[in-house]
């Protein structure tokens, strides 16, 4: 029931996002100008406008757009002369791969850092990892990517600057993309662990003589990690937007690079399709996160209902 309501909500948002992109494109650009050479004869321009249905009233054009959208038709790329959806779907695995590795990297570093920071609260280590996290949240992704490239490819020559296929190719893009979620997870996990470690049941566990290591990793972490799961999900969605810059810099053949390419070539149907597609992927990920969260923590369902 809860899930179905969320599903309806998600469909509504996708519909709204699509409508906004439609309106923005409608008011601001004339695709015919982009399709024909500047010196094209007038009759040709008029004929093309007519055949593309650009002379129809807004409502009819909008209805046609929605009709196509329902069938999963996101338009036709001027540049590639192919279905935009097909182009995007083809490049999705590369982007998901990048985002997954970025998240794995973020988790591998952030979980130990977050736990240790809380255990060694206000120590030198804690300050260091908090400082690290603060920088991770402030640094612009594109600059971090360039600096990693400068250090590991240009100065040290350890890793390649672009391409996909070898494991070496994914290290730098994943590091750049993972920096922000890593920082966010460190801070949230640390804060949650600090709260949980002060709770009565932890004192009880300690009093029973359980080793401190198990108290922290088993008893405390279990409860402290529930909000982190949501954050990971949300950050995963946000990382898809970050892939735009990272893929462009490292020449990673995913949807982000496709979107930037479309913008540079003023291929508006493809740009529009990319925006709708990425928003949809983001919304689907959020749906899944909500669902998993509901399974993890039964209280959530009740809480959401009350809202």
């Amino acid at each position: 029931m809860f899930f179905i309501r969320n599903l309806f909500h998600a469909v509504f948002i996708i519909f709204a996002v699509s409508t906004i992109t439609f309106i923005l494109l409608y008011v601001s650009s004339d695709p015919v100008v982009m399709l024909l050479p500047p010196d094209a004869p007038r009759e040709e321009v008029i004929a093309l406008r007519e055949s593309m249905g650009l002379n129809d009233p807004l409502v009819i054009q909008y209805a046609r757009f929605l009709g196509k959208l329902v069938k999963g038709d996101l338009g036709y790329s001027f540049f590639y002369k192919e279905s935009a959806l097909k182009l995007l779907v083809e490049r999705t695995p590369a982007t998901l791969e990048l985002a997954c590795f970025g998240m794995i990297f973020a988790l591998v570093i952030a979980i130990p850092l977050g736990i240790l920071s809380a255990v060694k609260y206000r120590s030198g280590f804690d300050n260091l990892s908090l400082g690290f996290a603060t920088i991770g949240q402030a640094v612009p992704i594109f600059w971090l990517a360039l600096m990693l490239m400068l250090i590991f490819s240009v100065f040290l020559g350890w890793l390649p600057t672009s391409g996909r296929g070898n494991w070496k190719n994914i290290v730098l893009p994943a590091l750049s993309l993972g920096a922000y979620p890593m920082a966010a997870i460190v801070r949230l996990l640390r804060a949650n662990m600090l709260t949980v470690l002060r709770m009565d049941y932890i004192t009880v566990a300690r009093a029973k003589g359980i080793r401190e290591f198990w108290v922290v990793t088993k008893h405390a972490l279990k409860n402290a990690s529930i909000p982190v799961v949501t954050l990971v999900g949300l950050q995963f969605g946000s990382m898809l937007a970050g892939t735009i810059v990272v893929e462009m810099i490292f020449g990673w053949p995913g949807i982000g690079r496709l979107a930037i390419f479309a913008i540079y070539h003023r291929d508006f149907p493809l740009v529009q399709a990319s925006v709708i597609y990425m928003a949809t992927v983001f919304i689907i990920i959020n749906l899944i996160v909500d669902f998993i969260y509901g399974l993890l923590d039964p209280r959530v369902k009740v809480g959401r209902m009350a809202l």
């Binding site: 948002i13 494109l25 402030a138 612009p140 600059w143 937007a241 979107a259 540079y264 919304i283």
Partner: protein, 282 residues
């Protein structure tokens, strides 16, 4: 001075960094040693002074067109800070108005504004900005507007949450009782109570907007060359990374310092406030 002693050192240090960048922005013509637009191909790619081949004439070196890096960084502060402050202002005004209305009036208004927030959140900010700018064309004005509109949600969400609790307080009921209009209640009684919170969010948002602006500039969708901005300087340097690391590294470091500064001050301010509000913002 006893007040300053209680403020963490990092906050003081980074406030100074921000004040320096503000000075840069206001007094760029007086502070920059060279004309930031003057190209001189005989002087191209000179390294910073601390590296072999560097000169005191161009302390931070020169770029691929022989322009002085330090002067361009000083002028670049104008773009970043101006976009940062103006867009934050636009975003906060929109966000606060919608947040007040949604929290105070409730009902249909509230659910419409909530839907708007969900829609805005599912457009990732950078994606929306890139999309809109690629349609309307890159210019300073467009960047300011897009960055402003892209940042209203946090304000609206937090203000709404606050208003929901303030609404039930006695002094609001009293104001309503003596016949104050809704607008008067919102502006004279509710707004002052959420104002400090708005300042905290704004401080944190400025950093994000400066990053967004530099990202747009880096993608060629921000302020257009030859006007220097830290983002388009980094873009210039990208092609020359093999020969001249400083063109990408130095403007980026300055950018990072400023963003870090706003974030650290924002974090400090929000630590001073109620922890519950902090939760709301995350």
């Amino acid at each position: 001075m006893s007040f300053l002693a209680r403020v963490p050192k990092r906050v003081i240090l980074f406030s100074i960094a921000i004040w320096i960048s503000i000075l840069f922005a206001f007094f760029s013509p007086f502070l920059s040693p060279h004309d930031p637009y003057k190209t001189d191909l005989s002087m191209r790619l000179i390294p910073p002074v601390f590296q072999k081949g560097g000169t005191w004439n161009n302390v931070l070196g020169t770029d691929h067109l022989g322009r002085d890096m330090l002067s361009r960084i000083i002028y670049g502060a104008r773009v970043s800070l101006l976009v940062g402050f103006v867009s934050t202002f636009i975003g906060s005004v929109i966000g606060v108005i919608l947040g007040l209305l949604s929290g105070y009036i409730g009902g249909k208004t509230d659910s419409v504004i909530n839907k708007l927030m969900d829609i805005q959140l599912s457009f990732r900010v950078i994606l929306l900005a890139i999309f809109v700018i690629s349609i309307v064309g890159p210019s300073f004005r467009n960047v300011v507007i897009v960055c402003g509109i892209a940042s209203w949600v946090t304000y609206a969400r937090v203000v709404r949450g606050q208003v929901l609790s303030i609404r039930e307080k006695e002094f609001i009921e009293a104001a309503r009782g003596i016949g104050c209009s809704t607008i008067r209640i919102l502006t004279r009684h509710v707004l002052p109570n959420v104002f400090s919170l708005i300042i905290v969010i704004s401080t944190l948002e400025i950093g994000r907007i400066i990053v967004l602006e530099s990202t747009l500039s880096f993608l060629g969708l921000g302020v257009q060359p030859p006007t220097p901005s830290w983002g388009n300087m980094i873009l210039d340097g990208k092609i020359y990374m093999l020969q001249a690391w400083w063109i990408t590294a130095i403007p980026g470091s300055v950018l990072l310092m400023v963003v870090l500064g706003f974030n650290i001050i924002g974090d400090y301010l929000s630590d001073l406030m109620d922890p519950y509000m902090k939760q709301l913002m995350e």
